[in-house]
Assembly symmetry: C2
Homo-oligomer: 200 residues x 2
Amino acid sequence: MAERGRPRAFDKDAALHKAMRVFWTSGYEGASVSELAQAMGINKPSLYAAFGCKEALFREAIELYEKEEGAPVGAALEAGRTARGAIETALRVNARCYTNPDNPRGCMVVVSALAGSPENNPVCSFLADSRRESEESFRRRVARGIAEGDVPESADAGRVAAFYATVMNGLSIQARDGATVDALERVVDSAMAAWDAIAR
Amino acid sequence: MAERGRPRAFDKDAALHKAMRVFWTSGYEGASVSELAQAMGINKPSLYAAFGCKEALFREAIELYEKEEGAPVGAALEAGRTARGAIETALRVNARCYTNPDNPRGCMVVVSALAGSPENNPVCSFLADSRRESEESFRRRVARGIAEGDVPESADAGRVAAFYATVMNGLSIQARDGATVDALERVVDSAMAAWDAIAR
DNA sequence: CCATTTATGTACCGATTGGTACGTAATTCC
DNA sequence: GGAATTACGTACCAATCGGTACATAAATGG
């Protein structure tokens, strides 16, 4: 079962973590392959052998991000006993992630490739897909709330989801602009204070 | 009063408009000087002679953006008879700008350099300053509303501003992700429905 | 021990990056 | 009609971009 050739001399997962942070900090285009390799502690040929190309490395980094930072949000969304509580927790988890002093600021899916040169368009739309999927998961949670009776039947799940997704995305910009956790928490307070006016 | 040497053969303002659109579409790093020059209909030496360097051109482009797309928002903010109405109009003007089919999507100040390579950090923080200034103008408008009596004295102007700035920034992401004008308008509806719960 | 397989570091690839040197064309001042 | 001044297009710069050829090292299978 053991691998055949010479064993890899670096920890691929650890290297991917390093790459994730570089992309998260500098963005897809702002992170050069040389810079990435250096941060990962390997040479470029090792990077290419292990990950294929810059874009593939980025996609793996985003997958890792979604597993480590996104999954807890998804879990909170499922675990919440009401749609309102679930979405509130999701926002608060994100607010803390976006301002965690151990992390680059903001959501990696938002900050790392909002715009880019035409040839990198696939990267931008890949991230856009991911963001739309987040909004869709909000919508599903609200719809479930309607089905379970904790959200009025008359509520428009798509509209509620679009509003909270907008706030969530906005939190990334605020975080990049230096907003503190407390400031983001207050924004979440405000957003949640609107619930009854929106989900009715 | 006439100029001394050979007259410039191109319309500097028209060229700047073209550059603005390229930066708005592709971002600061995603727009190459060659691409910019081509879109502007001039050669690179003319670009450098007229604008100095890439970063200076970008700053002029942002100034132009703020004059043409930002100023109407500022005007709406001043003109509104109440803080609530003023902020609502500001958001709606932005929602239309961000989804205008004649424009690239989203706010240029948000989308064109959220992250970037370390050496372009000045560009990112220049834009962050601009965004913070927008939030500050929201805050001043709410404070004026308190002074004029259309907002309760107990309201926290900074908190109200932070919330609506977050929504406004979030609108840019939604627009980039393909949201329609109507969708953004509904988000603004939701945000404004929260007013009484927030500014109290 | 030897063939096979995979990873490693060095040294390189063509293309593109932001930016310029330079000779020439077009204008104003005197 | 010069001299001075400014803009023009061509052709170029070093540096970096994403990516790779290649010789060598380290492992497994027989």
